[in-house]
């Protein structure tokens, strides 16, 4: 037989053998997968039995781990079953065995819970840290456990392994519990990372602080956003985005624009335009911005224009604190054309208490006037301390 024939036959034989082995292995796995519930000698059969008959769970699971000592699910379930029976020592052994054979999230999470319940701090932090390192889901349940053991959030974060995933989870957890001071610390750490995906979370945090009347903390959280492509810095006694150069975001210390009912609003750089309809309600909010103010006198300078509205336009500025009106301008008069810079309209007011205020531009129909379709435009609004 020529040499080349021999080699080609040898190659064909080896290929056939390999193919046959591969098909056989695949079929074996497929059959094993299908028939496991019926196979008495299979560990998974006993796991299934334990789930269906809780009273026999421990015995069935013991058999399961004997049949397959590398089955972490059986070890975990046996651990939980023996815990239920009151044998915490054996339960701990089972859960540690599960961690040993399976270095993924679930055994670590199960151990963390068990050792938490049994107040074993050392084992709890070990397992919790391991679980935290592998957690891709919402870490809130793990954080809740850690928080019960270590109420200092920064210390707990350090013990859990200090990842940005955990910091985000911790911030959400603390916001949910209105623990503002600690949330501020975690938010500051997160801001420093400058990850753009955190921007929404941090903006939301700023809003929550504003809602909670935590003005100083809100300012600091807002200014922490400077790591991101962000709005202007905010400070006491000044307005953000004074010239409407950026589209108002409606968040934090930026302008919050409200479309008048049955009317409309349109922004373009350096201008905000409202259209009020005849059917617009008697009173509606148009624009607002939160601002921290010290006590003292202030002047609001603004440039506006109206068209079609009544002589007494119904437009005015209001300063609110805790939902109560603290000061209000007179109703703005009709202004058919914008004034030149330097001759802007102004409103002076006094603030008696330091705190968080809402400056609002509103429309309230003046009694005796009728609804008129019209247009109002605002070009800038600047606040100055006097």
């Amino acid at each position: 037989m020529p040499r080349h024939m021999f080699y080609s036959r040898l190659f064909a034989g080896i290929s056939f053998l390999g193919f046959t082995l591969a098909v056989g292995g695949t079929l074996r796995l497929a059959v094993a997968e299908r028939v496991w519930p019926m196979a008495i000698g299979n560990a998974r059969h006993f796991e299934d039995l334990a789930r269906r008959q809780p009273l026999l769970a421990s015995d069935a699971l013991r058999t399961a781990v004997q049949l397959n000592p590398r089955d972490s699910t059986a070890w975990m379930e046996l651990g939980l079953a023996t815990e239920r029976e009151g044998d915490s020592e054996q339960a701990a052994d089972c859960l540690l065995a599960a961690e040993k054979v399976d270095r993924q999230y679930l055994p670590a999470w199960t151990s963390a819970n068990f050792f938490f319940r049994h107040a074993n701090d050392f084992q709890f932090w070990r397992a919790a840290t391991r679980a935290a390192a592998m957690s891709y889901d919402d870490p809130a349940p793990l954080i809740e456990l850690a928080d019960h053991r270590e109420p200092d959030s920064i210390a707990a974060l350090k013990r859990l392994g200090d990842s940005s995933h955990l910091e985000r989870g911790y911030l959400r957890f603390l916001i949910g519990r209105s623990r503002w001071r600690e949330a501020q610390e975690v938010a500051a750490r997160l801001s420093l990372l400058g990850d753009a995906s955190d921007r929404e979370l941090l903006l939301n945090f700023t809003d929550r602080l504003i809602e909670a009347n935590e003005g100083e903390a809100a300012l600091s959280a807002w200014n922490g956003l400077q790591q991101f492509p962000a709005p202007d810095r905010a400070s006491r006694g000044t307005l953000v985005n004074q010239n409407f150069k950026r589209q108002p975001s409606g968040q934090g210390f930026d302008w919050r624009v409200t479309e008048p009912p049955r009317g409309s609003v349109h922004w373009e750089p350096s201008r905000l335009e409202y259209w009020l309809m005849g059917s617009t309600p008697d009173a509606c909010m148009l624009l607002e911005q939160w601002v921290m103010l010290n006590s003292g006198r202030y002047r609001l300078r603004f440039d506006y224009r109206t068209q079609g509205l009544a002589e007494e336009t119904g437009l005015r500025w209001t300063l609110l604190r805790g939902g109560r009106e603290e000061a209000s301008s007179t109703v703005l008069a009709q202004a058919p054309r914008r004034v030149q810079n330097g001759n802007a309209a102004e409103w002076n007011f006094r603030v008696t208490k330091v705190g968080l205020y809402k400056l609002a531009w509103t429309y309230t129909r003046v009694p005796g006037t009728t609804h008129q379709e019209g247009h109002a435009e605002l070009a800038f609004a600047r606040l100055e301390a006097l």
Binding site: L106, N113, R117, D137, P141
Partner: protein, 346 residues
């Protein structure tokens, strides 16, 4: 001086003792460590569930007031008190050490351990389930039952083993469910009249009636009871309409004093059971839903047992709660609180 020295030393010793875990396990049930662990139990499932709105796989730890929501897989909750519960699939509830507020779906009480003083009561009580303004209370820790939120307003309660008591939002007993029985209950928007049916008896000068459907004994009073011919009704099955007399204390053994407006003879109990025997129309009919063992009243988690072709529906209204023993009949009658259903023996 000695005391001043001893106090911090003792405190430090105690702290060390707690920190090193030497404190014996005092908590019942699962034997959670007593050292300031706020956990009330464990929750286990063969899949995933939501715990306080976060997705958790396999198992977790329950704290007081934890919100548990199930998806396709039911969860089992083992509380430190020894109580065992199952929250069925597509269900939700808030779990406390002593009670469960069932918000959606169904739950099964497998074991109801004593959990301290009950609401409004100064005595130890077993684990409670609260659903739609009703409190479902197992009579003993061996009581097993299934509670299903049925439709928009009804609550189905099935006593699998042991008996259950149902209280209204004011804490008044409105039904007792014996082992193997089931009731569908619906709290009425207004307290309304009382309607009960059962055998009228007289004991020590007091008129008493144990309602066939709810198994609750009520004391009857009022001028309607002095009408001639009422003596003939004694010992017989009657239907009573009236209203609760507010603030009145009933005789021992009765849950409430009823001012009777009308007493009329009632037809014999279905199945021709003799007066005073098992409540009419309350026999289990068919099996339940996911649990597989619930009597008809419990139905499936989704709703009424439409297959139960029972023609007579026993409806009682006590304490502003309408109760019916036959779900199939209820479906036919349309509403627990209604008054026009034809075959209803009111």
């Amino acid at each position: 001086m000695t005391t001043n020295f001893l106090r911090p030393a003792l405190a430090a010793g105690l702290a060390l003792h707690l920190a090193t875990g030497l404190t014996p396990n005092l908590a019942a049930g699962q034997g959670f460590a007593a050292a300031a662990v706020p956990a009330i139990g464990t929750v286990i499932t063969n899949g995933a569930f939501r715990l306080n709105h976060a997705t958790v796989r396999s198992n977790g730890t329950l704290f007081e007031g934890a919100m548990v929501e199930t998806g396709t897989a039911p969860v089992r909750m083992d509380l430190a008190s020894g109580t065992r519960l199952e929250l069925e699939s597509e269900s939700a509830g808030r779990v406390y050490g002593g009670h469960l507020l069932l918000d959606r779906g169904a739950t099964r009480i497998d074991k109801a351990a004593e959990s301290g003083a009950g609401p409004g009561a100064g005595f130890a009580t077993s684990f409670l389930v609260e659903a739609r303004g009703l409190t479902i209370q197992p009579d003993s820790n061996s009581s097993m039952g299934r509670i299903v939120l049925n439709g928009a307003r009804r609550v189905d309660v099935a006593a699998l083993t042991g008996s259950f008591r149902i209280l209204n939002s004011a804490g008044m007993l409105v039904a007792k469910i014996a082992s193997g029985r089931a009731l569908t209950l619906e709290a009425q928007s207004t307290p309304g009249p009382v309607r009960i049916t059962g055998r009228l008896v007289r004991r020590d000068g007091h008129y008493l009636l144990t309602d066939d459907t709810t198994n609750v004994t009520l004391e009857l009073a009022g001028s309607a009871l002095t009408e001639p011919g009422l003596l003939k009704a004694l010992g017989r099955r009657v239907e009573v309409k009236g209203s609760a007399r507010p603030g009145a204390t009933p005789v021992d053994g009765a849950a409430q004093l009823i001012e009777v407006a009308q007493v009329t003879p009632a037809p014999p109990a279905s199945g021709s059971a003799p007066a005073g025997s098992a409540p009419a129309g309350s026999a289990p009919a068919g099996s339940g839903g996911a649990g597989g063992t619930a009597p008809a009243g419990a139905g499936g988690a989704g709703g009424a047992a439409s297959g139960a072709a029972v023609s007579v529906t026993m409806i009682a209204i006590i304490g502003g709660v309408a109760a019916a023993a036959v779900v199939g009949g209820l479906a036919a009658s349309g509403s627990l609180g209604g008054s026009t259903a034809a075959p209803v023996s009111r």
